[in-house]
């Protein structure tokens, strides 16, 4: 802590340099901000430097084509903003660059009223032209962005137009409820990127070799300096459109130093040494940090389960090339009793204790726990019980021989492979626990971690695996699973890209996703997605295991913080201040 104050003292001295540079390109007095947003949080103190850590280097500052979180962690929400945003605690929609929006009666026309007088960090005014430009870029087939796929409704890119300087309209071919979520897409400045895009050079713009001064956003911060492998320094955007309760521009924090450290151990040491303001704590470190909380002047926060998932998927694909030799595996895996037996043998408490050091939650539904709106907690659960598992196996026509080995109805020994991606220690431990329990049931399990690329190949193109333990990151919008759950999806892992749904329940899920997407009322959507969750829990093509909790250690000097698993500590960065 002592060090932190020393740092701050030196910083105050030095900041005069930093400030001048902000002011130089913050000149744009002719634009008057008519629609500011005023912070509802207690008034904070202006000034200070926030120091945090990053796990990896950004790969690009071009948010449209960025694919790794290491890149989007720098830009999204901090440098660039969307028309709408989701609240970090409630996950509900909030106005961001749009001060308000309307959806037409039939649910096909979305009108956004932009904040008037918002400036880019170089002083140029933000208008509907920038929004149109952003959509033009996303629509361009030569730009490799997943946003384009997400924007498609019924296979068509929506129509969009500028109504006037501050009004933007999107029209979609049919009602599509998840569409508002797409409007969180980050808006980029036309005046900086239009020429490059026209010249076909957009994909090479704003790479890590760009002068940070060139990167212009509407967000609370700009990039001041990037030193590869060392740190990203972000500076307050003096032109930002948010205001503190006294009416002065925020963010409060002037300089935000984000130290890059690829080792989580080193990150922990930096925090312990008083050099950073907060830390995402790993389960195994929680106790150690909790003991020193008072001395180190910080508090521990358990923000509950995250969106990360770990699940077991069985190969139920009749096109599995290995079935010619081993057709019986298809029979086992498509046998519902067999899958339920496996579900009953998941010792989730041991998984949480051993793999997550006690900080995790069992997962039962395909919707992640932090998704408060859509999570159905009433789905069928399979509490750990080897007795129930054996009962299911008996019902499924399996028997045991004298040595306790499990045999199928033709007297064949039940033996199969189970793999996960090497290097993910949590998954490797879960794999061991699952395999040990299944061996208790008399199965012969060959469990090995394998190279990630090999695993993806088996899962998505070869289709020759038996079972795989893997995870996908969930989200707030259930429709983002539309490549996973409907039977034609290429990530429908147990039986991908089906022409016709193989089972009745898969057909019903296809329907429910269709209904859920076209319904406009949230209550209706909740109903459809509830049924979908029930079906998955009932038929368990995918067996969920455990989800790690999101743990933080936050310095007491950092005020106005409200950490959540969804938004982390920095979702309201503009309201944070240092006391």
């Amino acid at each position: 802590m002592k060090k932190l104050t020393v740092f701050s003292l030196i910083l105050i001295f030095v900041l005069s340099f930093a400030l001048t540079s902000v002011v130089v390109y913050g000149a744009g007095d002719d634009v008057e901000l008519l629609d500011p947003e005023v912070s509802q949080k207690p008034q904070g103190k202006h000034g200070g430097t926030l120091i945090t850590t990053l796990l990896g280097d950004p790969k690009t500052f071009n948010t449209i084509i960025a694919q790794e979180t290491s890149s989007t962690d720098i830009t999204d929400g901090f440098v660039f903003e969307g028309l709408v945003d989701r609240h970090g605690v409630t996950t509900e929609f909030m106005p961001e660059l749009a001060r308000d929006w309307e959806i037409s009666e039939d649910g096909t026309v979305y009108t956004f009223y932009l904040r008037r007088g918002v400036q880019w960090s170089d002083g140029v005014e933000f208008t509907a032209d920038d929004v149109v430009f952003t959509f033009d870029v996303i629509k361009d087939e030569e730009v490799p962005t997943s946003t384009r796929d997400v924007m498609m409704v019924d296979g068509e890119f929506p129509e969009y137009r500028k109504v006037d300087k501050y009004t933007f309209e999107v029209e979609i071919p049919k009602p599509f409820a998840p569409f508002l979520n797409n409007m969180t897409t980050f808006i980029i400045p036309k005046h900086k990127l239009y020429d490059a895009w026209k010249a076909g050079n957009f994909n090479n713009m704003w790479g890590i070799d760009t002068d940070p001064q060139e990167i212009v956003g509407t967000g609370p911060f700009t990039i001041g300096e990037y030193k590869p492998g060392e740190r990203v320094v972000m500076l307050r955007n003096a032109n930002h459109w948010r205001r503190d309760p006294q009416g002065r521009p925020i963010p409060y924090i002037i300089r935000w130093v984000r130290v890059i450290s690829e080792s989580q151990e080193t990150q922990a040491l930096l925090f312990e040494n008083g050099q950073t303001h907060f830390l995402g704590v790993r389960g195994i470190d929680y106790k150690r940090f909790a003991e020193d909380a008072e001395k180190g002047n910080y508090k521990m926060i358990n923000a509950g389960p995250t969106f990360s998932t770990n699940f077991l998927v069985f190969n139920m694909n009749p096109r599995n090339p290995k079935l010619e030799e081993q057709p019986w595996k298809y029979e086992w895996f498509t046998n519902l009793h067999f899958r339920r037996a496996v579900a009953y043998s998941m010792d989730k408490n041991t998984m949480i204790d051993q793999a997550l050091a006690g900080f995790g939650e069992p997962q039962w539904s395909p919707v992640s726990a932090p998704n408060k709106v859509y999570l159905n907690e009433e789905v069928k659960k399979y509490p750990y019980s080897l007795e129930d598992a054996k009962e299911e196996l008996r019902q499924g026509g399996f028997t045991w021989n004298d040595q306790g080995q499990l045999l199928d109805k033709d007297g064949r020994r039940v033996e199969f492979n189970m793999v996960t991606n090497a290097g993910n220690t949590v998954r490797e431990q879960i794999l061991n626990i699952v395999a040990a329990e299944l061996r208790e049931l008399g199965m012969k399990i060959n469990s090995t971690p394998i190279e990630f690329n090999k695993l993806v190949n088996q899962l998505l193109s070869e289709w020759d695996f038996d079972t795989i333990l893997i995870g996908l990151t969930g989200g707030v919008e259930p429709h983002s699973g539309s490549n996973v759950w409907p039977s034609h999806g290429h990530l429908h892992m147990w039986n991908p890209v089906q022409e016709e749904p193989a089972t009745e329940w898969e057909a019903r899920i296809d329907e429910l996703f269709e209904l859920g997407a076209t319904a406009t009322k949230v209550e209706d959507r909740v109903k459809y997605y509830n049924e979908f969750q029930e079906i998955i829990a009932e038929k368990i093509p995918i067996i969920y295991t455990v989800t790690p909790n999101s743990l933080f250690a936050v310095r007491n000097t950092l005020k106005n913080v409200e950490p959540t698993a969804y938004g982390g500590v920095t979702w309201n960065i503009h309201e944070l201040y240092i006391d």
Binding site: P144, D209, G229, E230, V233, E262, T266, H490
Partner: protein, 322 residues
């Protein structure tokens, strides 16, 4: 001598070609491609993957991709990284300098300490001093680098030693005087360089000691002593110069390891070098970035061997290249 060096350089060309061919094909033969992580992203469609495959040239046959790369290389273009979407040279440049700074510092530490200790141990065989150094060498050999680095960092935090624990420069670096900047970097350099240095120190000491003992047993040493030369002269003029030959060969190899030997230490101490980035590039199959790393490593190996051979010729008059 000059023709010899020229010949060595000419020989290096087909060698480098063979290395590039092998590494390119081996990398391509292992399953998967750079786009695999994207394939597992629920938001990414097949369409997009195909577009990107085309843009990256991954839809072409492997020989075609190789010749395209080679052709570009001959024009001085190392290609563009898939991950960063900027020229490979830009990604590698600054990090390569950092890694070389670290490796050279580690080498200096290792050689400055291990050669005198090796000589001391050899000339004071089985004394207490020799035993202490020998045990230390074994400890040094058996502690993994990343653990030693973490241990040092932990001790720094525990005892409030005024040394940095991450990175190469402090966050105030830009506001320091030129002298202050150098001192700042040296402070950051200390932990990773000591960790890397001590790792190779252990084996160097042992080899030096063994070579020295061998040399001290030979007839010319007995002759030298018999004709009444001073012990200092016997050791440094006669024994040492004969014992140093294999060390010079090792030195050549170490030059090739300049870029590759530090990945784990760099990660733990946050040194912004090539290490982890190169490892990620190979694993994620960022083809051109990984190839650039491999080729630079190979060039260094060849140059290192050449330097070692030349140094051998200088130190040992019996060796002549023609």
């Amino acid at each position: 001598m000059r023709t010899y060096i020229l010949r060595r350089f000419l020989q290096a060309v087909p060698l480098l070609l063979a290395i590039s061919l092998l590494s390119f094909f081996i990398m391509q033969l292992s399953p998967g491609s750079y786009l695999d992580t994207m394939r597992l992203n629920p938001d990414v469609s097949e369409n997009l993957i195909n577009t990107m495959e085309r843009q990256y040239g991954l839809d072409k046959s492997i020989p075609e991709q190789y010749f395209h790369w080679l052709w570009q290389l001959l024009h001085g273009n190392l290609g563009e990284s898939f991950t960063y979407k900027v020229p490979v040279t830009h990604v590698i440049k600054s990090r390569m300098v950092n890694t070389i700074i670290l490796s050279v510092a580690a080498m200096i530490i290792a050689w400055m300490i291990s050669i005198p200790i090796g000589i001391y141990s050899a000339t004071h065989k089985y004394t207490i001093g020799d035993n202490i150094f020998t045990s230390l060498a074994f400890v040094g050999l058996s502690i993994p680098n990343f653990f030693f680095a973490l241990l040092l960092l932990f001790l720094i935090v525990k005892f409030n030693v005024p040394l940095p624990i991450n990175g190469m420069t402090s966050i105030m670096h830009n506001f320091l005087t030129p002298m202050g900047k150098v001192v700042d970097i040296l402070k950051h350099l200390l932990v990773p360089a000591v960790v890397l240095g001590t790792a190779s120190m252990a084996s160097l000491t042992r080899i030096m000691r063994g070579q020295m003992i061998e040399a001290m047993r030979s007839d010319y040493i007995r002759t030298a002593r018999a004709k009444g030369l001073k012990e200092r002269k016997v050791i440094y003029k006669h024994a040492f110069r004969n014992a140093i030959n294999p060390m010079i060969t090792i030195f050549g190899f170490q030059i090739s390891a300049l870029l590759s030997g530090a990945a784990l230490t760099e990660t733990v101490t946050g040194w912004p070098g090539l290490g982890k980035m190169m490892l990620t590039a190979v694993r994620s199959k960022d083809l051109y970035l990984a190839m650039a790393g491999l080729m630079i490593g190979s060039v260094l190996l060849i140059i290192g061997n050449l330097i070692a051979d030349i140094m051998l010729a200088i130190s040992d008059p019996r060796i002549r290249y023609n």
